[in-house]
Amino acid sequence: MEFLLSILVGLLFAAGVYLLLHRDFVKLVIGIVIIGNATALFIFVAGRIVRQNAPFIQENGLPPENFADPVPQALILTALVIGFGIQAFALIVFKKVYDIPKVDKIDDLKK
């Protein structure tokens, strides 16, 4: 599972970077979104994937053996929220820039 997810993370990063290198605003935004998701998934995999138990303390007051680590999930949640904010902002700014006359592609921004 971890192997598959690692490959997926790599693919997502590749796709994201590929889109970022494009000259088109829409692809740029999609690239940002994909890279954001790739980083989230990276943290998830880096925090080890465990399927046995939820991280709750049992009735005897001890943690269960082999529980899923909650910290990476908390990190991902925070990172996704922040990423969402930036994506929303980027979308609006790119839309505004796209509305400038004679700007259709990134290359038009050179002055």
Partner: protein
Amino acid sequence: MGYEKIIILLTLIIPMLTAIISLFFKKNRIVNNYISIIGSSLLLITTTAFLFPLIVENEILTTQVGGWKAPFGITIVADMFSAIMLVIASFVGLMVNIYALENIDYKKKEFSFFVFFQFLMMAVNGAFLAGDIFNLYVWFEVMLISSFVLLVLGNGTKQLIATVKYTLLSFIASAFLLVGVGMIYGISGSLNMADVALYFREHPNEPLMTVAAVLFMLPFAIKAALFPLYFWLPDSYHTPKISVTAIFSGLLTKVGVYALIRCFTLIFIHDVHYTHTILMVAAGFTMLSGVFGALSKVNMRRILSFHIVSQVGYMVLGLALFTPLAIAGAIFYIIQHILAKTNLFLITGVVEKIKGTSNLKGVSGLYHRFPVFSIIFLVVALSLAGLPPLSGFWAKFILIKAGFEQQEYLMIFVVLITGLLTLFSMMKIWVNAFWGKQQEEPDRNLITNEKSLFKEHWSLLIPIILMASFTLFIGLFSMPLMKYATIAAEQLMNPLQYIEAVLGTAN
């Protein structure tokens, strides 16, 4: 006991409360001004009068937010380096805030300029105090989002275009930082800087640690505008209002440098030869390319933006030499650079106010009508270039001395060449804008002589004069600052002290 911990948190709480309160009053012009000034002044009082003496007395103070014990909760740490940075940041914050009263027009204030300004101050302070790598990431994001808004506020075409570049680069930087954080968590199972540093000491796993180090170096280098990654800075810093540029130039890149110094003295010290050599090469190229970029420009804002890049090189050089003296020099450099560079941008703002442009082709002969103002510029500019006995000279002197001790003669050569070229381009501004033939003033211009400048635009002049006198002060009496910078550097070079302060024992 509890009192000290609240003092540390106050540096975050005051700007946050100020921002929230001014959000409610953003349509009320006068109240809005007062709230922001009071907030910034309170912050300055807290850092200088309460926090700094505490740190001088106790060396390293920590607070566990929410009472969770050290490696598990979020730790806020203030050591001497953080304290110095907090003091200077809050001072510059207040100065730019006073300047912004007149410089930022009402329309922008109504669209919550001060709200984001205060959030920016909070995030900068937070980054200086973070004792946890994920926390550091979050403060970076808060800082970035506030700076995006400040950059684009006003919606000018150039600003929008600059924001696109800035947003994109910042986003890539934070994505890499997040990957680095995930990697560190994957290796060590902890996010607390002290705990991570301790884990790396006890379980050295060099290949992975080096990858993590590079993943941290990249985003901080983008934020600090190091050599191959600085192009966003001169492309975006000349577009917004000058107050915004000034606060960005003073604080944002320095947060990147701060994070570099913090991480590469505490966590990633397993293979100094490798990581710090990369930093040194980057620093050398940064100095040279920044100063060459500045030579080719004719707009004051652009020249100064390129100089930010070249000066960041000096600071990172201090880190790369990696001796207590060199790091003390880097800290000294950061302080004097923040004061001088922010001030130069503020002065550029006044030149724009007088002449309507900061392009050197359109400005000439200011000295004839504004002698005092011109002399202030000269003092600050020469200080940046590093002429004795001004503050930049001592900063460069310390770095060069440290370079000789480490026998990095090539780097010393680069430092000296860059200093010379900096002097050259400062003189270019001086000769073109201040000396030279006096120009005919256009009719719309109301500021025709120094008297009216000082009388009617005092809120622009007060910050400039105050900061210039501080620059002069740390030039003429550099020992006190050097003493604290040395203490800070010794703390940084002795990570066990930091680890012990955070975790209680150093095992």
